[in-house]
Assembly symmetry: C2
Amino acid sequence: MSETGSVGIVQKQVFELPRYRTVGGASLSDLRIGYQTYGRLSPRRDNTILVCHHFSGTSHVAGRYAPDDPEPGFWDGIIGPGKALDTERYFIIATDTLCNLDVGPAGTAVSTGPASIDPATGRPYGMRFPLLVTEDFVHVQRALLEGLGIGRLAAVAGPSGGSIQSLVWGVTYPERMRRIIAVIPPGLALPAYSVAQFDTWCAPIRLDPAWNGGDYYAGPRPEQGLRRALELITLNALHFDILEQGIGRAWGEPGRDPASSWQARYRVQDQIAEIAAQRAAAIDPNALLYMAKAFQQYDIRDRLERLQAPVLLMPAASDVILPPLLAEQALRQLKAAGRAAELVTIPGNGGHLDGLNRIAEVQEAIRDFLV
Amino acid sequence: MSETGSVGIVQKQVFELPRYRTVGGASLSDLRIGYQTYGRLSPRRDNTILVCHHFSGTSHVAGRYAPDDPEPGFWDGIIGPGKALDTERYFIIATDTLCNLDVGPAGTAVSTGPASIDPATGRPYGMRFPLLVTEDFVHVQRALLEGLGIGRLAAVAGPSGGSIQSLVWGVTYPERMRRIIAVIPPGLALPAYSVAQFDTWCAPIRLDPAWNGGDYYAGPRPEQGLRRALELITLNALHFDILEQGIGRAWGEPGRDPASSWQARYRVQDQIAEIAAQRAAAIDPNALLYMAKAFQQYDIRDRLERLQAPVLLMPAASDVILPPLLAEQALRQLKAAGRAAELVTIPGNGGHLDGLNRIAEVQEAIRDFLV
């Protein structure tokens, strides 16, 4: 793990909050979220960048948990010594959100959510867990930062759902950051199209009889519904070009024409299914429903006058799920409200995922923006 | 029904084929498909335009079944006296495909498919119905045309899945048409992305326990799975802009904040659900699976040298499900193969559905191409 620019091995840490009242008015006790840090906090405590994660992401934003981990954290391309989020200069902190998805059997997140034990009953909350909004994620992140003695941030940044958190930070604690970097963002409110799209992601889980109204923790979980949901999410985050070039219309098995039977398939069908099956092992199905509901509420359009920090919007050119037109619209809205904002497009043909996979290609723009 | 340019009232007719052998080698007997005609066959029988329908469409391409029908057929905008497909000049014929979706309780299609009675058992085929490919639809359409004494067509045209049928016509019976009009087409083969996308449409039906391996005709059908499938299909055929302008983030019920409970929703969620519920009444769930499997096999790239008729490709500018880049690629492939082809884009912000709803806006280009 001595490659240049690598942050090396990283460990999950845990923040505990004895009591928290949600924006919706519910009381939660013994709340826990995981977090990871990179670099060192400066003596003046003014060099922190908070990195927020996407819908199915975690605080694992860079580095590896073990030397043989196949993949590093999702923004490893820009977090490390000499990279845009330079760990020799900045103290990078990332948290697992509340109701994080990644608390399934193979999950790595630490996060209070529907799979947590309800102290009132001694059993998992299931769908009795209170509804959350992004502001709840932000308030708990702020409590963690306060605990570490960190006041003002050098920046808040994140891709997709992480851009939602970053922008909500900007209107919730406007004096607390110098810069906001919103990568592959949905704009300043979740569009109607995306609200409906989140429902299509949730539908397979609810259709699976094993979901059982969310009470599956004592029995088999809705594995098939979860996999179908993740197949849809995986596909939505890609783009025509990258699948065409990478797989095309190759058959799943040589000599087995997909026209010949229901079982015979194209390789792309098998690959999407494999990706989803792998991801499913880490994910709690109820948490997916809660996260979708939280992000469906995202709308800061009526709070733009609170925003102080300049915003960098970074759509991905081939994104079909949150296409560049949404960031372009946000740029116009921010400027119309007299806010400082700029836009830089991430090149590529990989779809929404380019906001993770090709983020290093816009490294210079991020570095310049942070100055 | 005396509006200018209207074809007025139309009736479904039925074509019967005593015996048909599928491309896959299965024997079907007493096969039936519905069809509708507009205008009159010329004495020289050389003025026929075959219009093929999309995935969930039928032969109802123009006119109304009754004066109070709320909507006319899907291409009413270009079919009628004085329109691009001028019924005073052309004889327009449209057929229901084999395994057409629209054979549910409120369906209007006539179509042999999985809901038909298997003469060998006296019960519906269900998933024992043979797999079909687009070439099967085309062969049966040709048998119908033969029966009417129609040899060469003035044109074959259709949107989306209808463009697939039109292009398969072009390589299967190349000498049989003067022109091919492929509207909102997937290109010359179904892209890997779309192959996987069809699976996401089918997944909710298969997840519904009422689907029961396709044997639901004697009991309750997989209504919830079908509705979830149709919600996804409905959303995929739209675009961000049209939903944002038409509905935006309005609440389903005034005063009932969607953040407050699982039951409280945005209006867009209710509207998509309503559209899907209405469509579901017409549709047989198994037929949806069969049609998806048939279109997944679409690939004419290795038969381009057979193609004789010039091709007009008409993508919709805001299409996210079959974006313009697919038609642009097809144009390059056709030209590289020495075929005559041109491309005209349908303007608008309504997504894939603009291939139906805004087709009249490219009327002149179609008229010019048919000359």
